[in-house]
Amino acid sequence: MPRSAFLDLARPSRRHWLGYLLLAPAVLLIALIIVYPLFVSVDLSFQNVNIARLDQPRRPFTTANYERLFASEDFWNACWVTFKLVTIVSFFCFLLGLGTALLVNNRFKGQALARLLVALPWAIPEVIAVVIFAWLFDSSFGLMNWLFIKVGLVDQTINWFSSPDAAFAVVCTVMVWKGYPFVSIMMLAGLQSIPEDFYNAAKVDGARAWQRLIHITIPSLMPVIGVTLVLVMLWVFRDFSIIYVLTGGGPLKATQSLSIMTYEQAFGFFKMGYASAIGVITLIVCVIASRLMIARAPDNI
């Protein structure tokens, strides 16, 4: 049956239409729920707005939000907290993730079960995990205090959520616990794409296990490591629920990251213009950081 030349998407000259057609719903959705709010938020950050309403008339253009932001001690504190979180959590996620991936990449009895266990924290909803951890670290009847005292690390209970350092440590612990399975799964996928013969060749060349890890495994994983670290970093940057449920940003703003500060300004103090300015700064920092990390990963495979 002859088809209309215009509608026949199977023709070579029309083939790319089908691609655009299939992409359209997703693009529209993203435009609606991500791109549009993004522009609104950039727009808001240059206005003195308290509660944003779309039917409000535009306020005059001002950079007051940014001036206030850069002069604010809270902002720099949040930046410092976020930086510490990103560095510490990414580092330990990477260490634990690669370690567990190397472990479960070996062939042994119960390998499937071990892989499941490694991935398990990832499958638990964030808020539920955080509530469980909040109980574990409870200062009066938490498991951790009991354990620390039994082992002899401390001689009296630690008040986890009222000491700034302890609270920060707890937030890091929960984030690492929640984040490392993702790294592990990515690394495992990467490890399985390394041909066995690389290792055989290295063994014949006399490389010891440690040398094989440094000279074969890590370089072969570099592309995966780069992408994974960026994703983990962005996750830590934007993660809200773990900190909010665990500490709410306290004590003494010790765990107030940029995302918590944004939320607090927007929905706690209803300074949406100011909050938008924090959001825009966070976005810029994220874009620059991920660009740097992707560019640093050598494109060797």
């Binding site: 060749a201 014949v204 072969s220 050598p298």
Partner: protein, 373 residues
């Protein structure tokens, strides 16, 4: 450089035995090819020799040193892999120097040896490139180079030519042979290609189902195959097999072939009379035109390669072996191939007279497949 002594090495995975009592003495500087169909255990043997797999029993000595339970890196051997296994993140030079670096050789010495090896292989201009920027043939050379710079006791090569196209394969084959003549390093080479085995080897070890079938030089292997398997494997196209019965006549033995009573070239005639035998005849030993034993056939198919012709003829029913014997495909069982050198062009449908010299016949026991001489 050193000789290698492999003494009754076996390998089994659970109940599955893939290597049965493999024993082989390799002289210093010898080029030995392990050949056989896939699954015959040749690659397993090479991996055991390299130390990448553990032998279930038996011992291996390189030089005078027992290496049976030594790590691959401590055996002082170099290996060339089928897919070359070049590290993609390192340049050619650093790929080649990797083994030396792992052994703590100093940088100047590594440089010197890498450059020397690169000169031998003609890859000096590629040293700063990454493997992915190289063609298949160049990668192959780099893999060889990586083995050479180590100056090991022995080279192990695991089907190093199978990823190259046909023309390059022939070329590289000659190069590896030349390299071996120049360096005189003991080499163990694994392949499934009988042509590679025939052209490169000082000695061929032919294997099937984990058992050595015959160890001999290429010429001996071709002229005096130990059994039906070896006879069918070596040579291209493979030997023709005709089932028949031996009859004692006077002092000798004859067999009925294409209606003629043909005298068989056998010394020990008496024991053979009346037994089922398989007579082997190489395709290149069949000539066009009348000869000592002539027969007339109608070819089923004639393939012409210009310089030679393969004439496919249906075997008479009485000469066909039982299905499943010997393990080769059905068409080889039911047809006879004649390889005619410098043939005249001939119409495919015409009848054709072929002949052979009975002295060229090989005789095998039908039941055991062993050669009878």
């Amino acid at each position: 450089m050193a000789g290698i002594r492999i003494d009754s090495v076996t390998k089994s995975y659970g109940g599955l035995t893939v290597l049965k009592a493999f024993s082989l003495d390799i002289a210093d500087g010898e080029f030995v090819v392990l050949v056989g169909p896939s699954g015959c255990g040749k690659s397993t043997m090479l991996k055991i020799l390299a130390g990448l797999e553990e032998a279930s029993s038996g011992t291996i000595a390189i030089g005078e040193r027992d290496v049976t339970d030594l790590a691959p890196g401590d055996r002082d051997i170099a290996m060339v892999f089928q897919n070359y296994a070049l590290y993609p993140h390192l340049t050619v030079a650093r790929n080649m120097g990797f083994g030396l670096k792992m052994r703590g050789t100093d940088a100047a010495e590594i440089d010197r040896r890498v450059n020397e090896a690169a000169k031998i292989l003609g890859i000096g201009h590629l040293l700063e490139r990454r493997p992915r920027a190289l063609s298949g043939g160049q990668r192959q050379r780099v893999a060889l180079g990586r083995a050479i710079v180590r100056e090991p006791q022995a080279f192990l090569m695991d089907e190093p030519l199978s990823n190259l196209d046909a023309k390059l394969r022939v070329h590289t084959r000659a190069e590896i042979s030349a390299l071996h003549k120049r360096l005189r390093v003991t080499t163990i080479y694994v392949t499934h290609d009988q042509t590679e085995a025939m052209t490169m080897a000082d000695r061929i070890v032919i294997m099937k189902d984990g058992v050595i079938q015959q160890i001999a030089s290429p010429d001996v292997m071709f002229r005096e195959p130990a059994n039906l398997f070896v006879a069918g494997f070596i040579g291209s196209p493979g030997m023709n097999f005709l089932k028949t019965k031996a009859q004692a006549v006077g002092g000798g033995v004859t067999a009925k072939l294409f209606g003629h009573d043909v005298k068989l070239p056998i010394a020990n005639a008496a024991a053979l009379a009346g037994r089922e035998i398989v007579v082997g005849l190489r395709p290149e030993h069949i000539a066009a035109g009348a000869g000592q034993v002539s027969f007339t056939v109608t070819p089923r198919l004639i393939e012409s390669l210009g310089s030679e012709q393969y004439v496919y003829v249906d075997l008479p029913e009485e000469h066909r072996r039982d299905a499943g014997s010997g393990g080769e495909d059905e068409s080889r069982r039911t047809s006879l191939i004649a390889r005619l050198i410098n043939p005249e062009p001939r119409p495919p449908e015409a009848t054709l007279t072929l002949s052979f010299d009975p002295a060229r016949l090989h005789v095998f026991d039908a039941a055991s497949g062993e050669a009878i001489r």
